[in-house]
């Protein structure tokens, strides 16, 4: 394991300290209890507060999305481990400006349970909290026989659009409604060429043969849906996008935001090769590419791989997508 770290047990803390030092205009760090990243100007009078969080190792998610037009606070847990209720509660207090707080929670047992506890504690203090669970990953069957779909790259679109709604002054109910609407219209699927290594574990989360790739990978280094022999990028894109298209389903004439997301260790040129094919498939189906986003936004440390996300949009959602955002990892319009 070769990493640019000091003490494997301190990677999260030191990374956050660096993040806060690099972006004092955007965020401040709450270190007691460790850790939450809060928007520098929070709480904003009358504005609904948006809190998300989850295991670390998915950067820039979530801290990179704290700022104007997106999150008010991000609560990072240990590497790939959801945070405990204490910092979630503390972040909730910090961003509560009287208009209530929305928790955006990726659908993992740990995240759901810890946010649930924090929300109960916040309610007990008189803070109005609503929670939205994001579960966009079509790789997992959503049935009684699983923990349900995971929240993956679609989470950043939920955060972006709900953040824009909060920024324009929507009420907690309205912001939560936007978040739920986005979640209901967003679908993702990912794959990995090579695993990542969690610092404290010291060895890769899974093994892949020289010619194998993992289809339907999660973002926690957990194994995916199936392991297949390496194929050309276009063929892999087809394997990812077909289940996405079928699921909603996305149909001719639909307008979509296409997000091609790198898992952390994938060169940008490969992301654009993937984008090219995905856009081609959409064009073939008569689906309209309304907006494009390509980058490593929801990652698994240095994992090599990619995920594809489609969000079906109408004029309202597009307006929220286009609204100004000013965060460390996503910025436009100001």
């Amino acid at each position: 394991m070769k990493k640019l770290i000091n003490d494997p047990g301190k990677t999260v803390d030191e990374g956050l300290a660096g993040f806060a030092a690099a972006h004092p205009d955007l965020v401040r760090l709450i270190v007691d209890p460790p850790f939450a990243v809060v928007r520098a100007d929070a709480p904003l009078n009358g504005k609904v507060g948006l809190v998300s969080g989850g295991g670390s190792g998915h950067e820039p998610l979530h801290a990179g999305f704290v700022g104007h037009g997106m999150l008010d606070a991000a609560v990072p847990g240990a590497m790939f481990t959801s945070p405990t209720p204490d910092p979630i509660l503390e972040a909730t207090r910090h961003v509560n400006a009287g208009a209530g707080v929305l928790h955006i929670v990726k659908n993992y047992t740990g995240d759901v349970l810890n946010f649930e506890t924090a929300a109960e504690l916040a309610l007990a203090e008189g803070i109005e909290v609503q929670s939205v669970i994001v579960d966009d990953d079509v790789a997992v069957k959503d049935s009684l026989y699983t923990a349900g779909r995971r929240g993956v790259a679609g989470t950043m679109l939920v955060e972006k659009l709900a953040g824009a709604a909060a920024e324009r002054g929507d009420s907690l109910d309205q912001v939560a409604e936007v978040a739920r609407t986005v979640n209901s219209r967003v679908r993702s699927m990912g794959m990995a060429l090579a695993p990542c290594t969690v610092p404290h574990a010291g060895e890769p989360s899974f093994e892949l043969g020289e010619d194998e790739v993992e289809i339907g990978i999660g973002i926690h280094g957990e194994p995916g849906r199936e392991r297949i022999a390496l194929e050309p990028a276009d063929r892999i894109v087809d394997r990812l996008i077909e289940p996405i298209l079928e699921d909603l389903p996305f149909q001719q004439g639909d307008r979509v935001v296409l997000l091609v997301n790198g898992m952390g260790g994938t060169p940008q040129s490969e992301l654009y090769i993937v984008f090219r094919r995905a856009a081609e498939v959409l064009a073939d189906r008569g689906i309209v590419l309304a907006r494009s986003l390509v980058g490593s936004y929801v990652t698994s440390l240095e994992m090599q791989g990619v995920s594809i996300t489609l969000l079906q949009v109408d004029d309202d959602l597009l307006e929220l997508y286009d609204a100004p955002v000013q965060t460390a990892a996503l910025r436009w319009g100001r």
Partner: protein, 209 residues
Amino acid sequence: MGPVTLDGAWTRRWVEAVAAEVSRRKAELTALDRAIGDADHGENLDRGFQAVLGKLDALDDGATPAAVLRLVATTLISTVGGAAGPLYGTAFLKASMAAGDRDELDAPALVEVLTAARDGIVARGKAESGDKTMVDAWTPAVEAASAAGDDVRAALAAAAAAAAEGAVATEPLVAHKGRASYLGERAVGHRDPGAESTALILAAAAETT
């Protein structure tokens, strides 16, 4: 071995033994989690129980079993995170509530406590038996303890043995809860890490004198 009294001091020794065992077997638990999860279960529990160790000293010498269990509960909740943090946290919290103000636990009280812990996990995590989770170690343990009669030592031994068997018995299962459920058939052949840590916790209880 002589007769055991499950008083506050025993509870504390047990918790210390758990912390030592988790520390010793951390890598093993994480390896189980690597196979069908996200490779952090040992790390998570170790972080939690080390924190518990750091707080035990602050407890009164005469603390009741419930007080020790409550300290474990709140500490796990605020330090473990992940799925195991709230689940074990709830288990110890409900156990503490079941222990009430008793100074020591006899066999029927132990069964009540174990049952409360298991029910707490089920209430939070909604897993059923056979879903390949820690519940598959807890439920046989509760049943074995109830069937063991009035000897609290025998009840502990029975619970530990049943939990160990329950953990092994998760191996052929497909998971329906937790991360392993994403894997479908690919989870078959692997032991559930949470069931194994439950077996560890109850084995430590049986061995604590």
